[in-house]
């Protein structure tokens, strides 16, 4: 086990390896790429924990219930460094998303499976050592835990070490979204280790103090943190006195489950929720647009596997691509539309649509230490096909992006672009122009075609029946 795999390998066959920047924090192991393959190294110091996970039956139980990402053990020669005692090849998650890109229910489901995993772990004599929302991804339409090295043996009378992290990553944002404003979920973007509890406590309305679960896990929790903040130097003495029985620990987890379950988002009317009723399409042109989208997607060869639907609303057109077996990132700026989209994927048991909350005028940046813990939206691309339906007028007029810039942006995002041009005469554009000075002389169909011709060649275009809009299929040059 102590041999150095790199020394044994002939120099000529040394492959390109690269660690995944987001996994530097855990001394127990990390992710790395060997060529195109994602591997996870288990370090010697985490060996006992990992072996207990595998031998106790916990791994099998969690994988069987679809709660934990499955992996295969591969040859130790694949290891990245000498510290390795095991090398794992986890099942790949095709599309990475982050908590600030999830709808309310996506974050809620992520919270509930984290707690479910902790409950199962306790049954098998183990415990989660962290409860980061970034340990959850969506695979086949369901939330799944991806950090195989987050388990440690349960020690008698120990409290849950990840309790604070759970409250910061899940309970605080969900409570704020539910009781104050859905947009406060975006605080997760500025606070990479979850929303500080004192901040959450300040922002939450008074009535949350009359709910026992929120009173204890958020408000009193924040107060307790403040009270003991200065006791940190002397904390080892204080902590020795902290005893939580197994039954007490289970009670806390059970209370967190009830707290999370009881949080329901009852949305007010947001911008786009009833867009499909307010749109100027009559049903005939909508039907024709669907047919065209389907036909254009069929023309792409080889058949695309990954599609990014920008401004997807509740995912009507995403589902056309998904029905063809493509994985679809279904992105919209409106939390309500993303929520409805996610509810639909759950109700219909759709495996290949990932609803995401994305503001394209200010997309997710690279975050964290050295800008490399969380990838920007662009870093996670490019995709095979970008769909931009009924979107361009919002970017060109509401957000003042010139058409050549839009063309360059889209050319960086994907190989093919399925884009709808919405002319000035369209009622939606007129509505946007009604409240603005019209400085958009360049916003014409011929300018659009010229601007995009710099980066794309046109495969096909067709006017949508019963409207003045045109749908284009473009291929990157």
């Amino acid at each position: 086990m102590t041999r150095n795999p790199r020394q044994e390998r002939p120099a000529a066959t040394v492959m390109k390896t690269e660690t995944v920047p987001s996994s530097f924090r855990d001394p127990g192991g990390f992710l790395f790429y060997r060529e195109e393959t994602l591997l996870r190294q288990v370090n010697h110091r985490c060996r006992a924990d990992y072996d207990q996970l595998m031998q106790s039956g916990l791994y099998e139980a969690l994988v069987e219930d679809g709660l934990l990402i499955p992996h295969q053990e591969v040859d130790l020669a694949e290891a990245y460094s000498d510290d390795a005692c095991r090398v794992l090849k986890p099942t790949l998650v095709p599309c990475i998303s982050y908590p600030y890109e999830w709808s309310f229910s996506q974050l809620k489901d992520a919270a509930l499976i984290t707690l479910k995993i902790q409950q199962r772990a306790l049954e098998f004599g183990m415990s989660l050592k962290d409860a980061s929302a970034y340990n959850i991804q969506f695979l086949d339409g369901k939330a799944i835990f991806i950090d195989t090295l987050s388990f440690e043996p349960y020690r008698e009378n120990q409290p849950w070490v990840a309790y604070r992290q759970f409250c910061q990553h899940f309970l605080a944002p969900l409570a704020l979204m539910c009781y104050r404003d859905i947009r406060l979920g975006q605080l997760l973007r500025t606070n990479i280790d979850g929303i500080p509890l004192d901040l959450a406590s300040t922002l939450l309305p008074l009535r949350t103090r009359f709910r026992f679960s929120l009173l204890t896990h958020l408000h009193l929790h924040a107060r307790s943190q403040r009270r003991y903040a200065n006791a940190a130097v002397d904390s080892s003495r204080t902590l020795k006195k902290v005893n939580v029985s197994l039954n007490g620990l289970k009670a806390i987890i059970d209370s967190l489950v009830s707290a999370i379950r009881s949080l329901q988002w009852k949305s007010g009317d947001t911008e786009w929720g009833d867009y499909y009723n307010a749109t100027n399409y009559d049903s005939e042109s909508m039907q024709h647009k669907k047919e065209l989208v389907s036909a254009f997607l069929d023309q792409i060869s080889p058949a695309p596997t990954l599609v990014q639907d920008l401004g997807a609303n509740t995912g009507v057109f995403s589902r056309i691509a998904a029905d063809k077996g493509m994985n679809v990132l279904s992105q919209d700026i409106d939390p309500k539309a993303v929520e409805i989209n996610y509810q639909l994927t759950k109700r219909n048991r759709e495996h290949n649509i990932l609803p995401m909350l994305v503001d394209l005028t200010n997309p997710s940046p690279a975050l964290g230490w050295a800008h490399s813990e969380r990838m920007s939206l662009m870093q996670r691309g490019p995709v095979d096909v970008v769909m931009a339906l009924a979107l361009i007028h919002h970017l060109a007029i509401s957000n003042h992006v010139p058409l050549p810039d839009l063309a360059r942006f889209f050319s960086r995002m994907g190989q093919y672009l399925l884009i709808e041009f919405v002319p000035r005469t369209d009622s939606q554009v007129r509505r946007l122009l009604a409240t603005r000075e019209d400085v958009f002389e360049d916003y014409t169909q011929s300018h659009f075609e010229n601007a995009f011709a710099h980066h794309f060649e046109q495969v096909q275009s067709q006017q949508i029946r019963g409207s003045e809009r045109t749908l284009y299929l473009l291929r990157k040059r």
Partner: protein
């Protein structure tokens, strides 16, 4: 020594969070015990009656969960 310090090597759990857990556990443990006991009693009778009705087995998940506890 109640637990090993190594548990805190990786993320900072915060002293306040630990102390609060002890307080909350004290309040909730009793209620949780009653809740668990009650669900067991309920399960016992549901099981009894459903067996009387159609001799059907309880859902696999339910049996598994109860047999694993404690």
């Amino acid at each position: 020594m109640a637990f090993s310090n190594s548990a805190f090597a990786y993320i900072d759990p915060g002293t306040g969070s630990m102390v609060l857990q002890m307080a909350v556990a004290g309040i909730l443990a009793g209620l949780f015990y009653i809740k668990t006991a009650w669900s067991r009693i309920r399960f016992f009778f549901t099981n009894l009656f459903s067996r009387e009705k159609d001799d059907a087995k309880p859902p696999a998940g339910e049996t598994g969960r109860n047999s694993d506890e404690d």
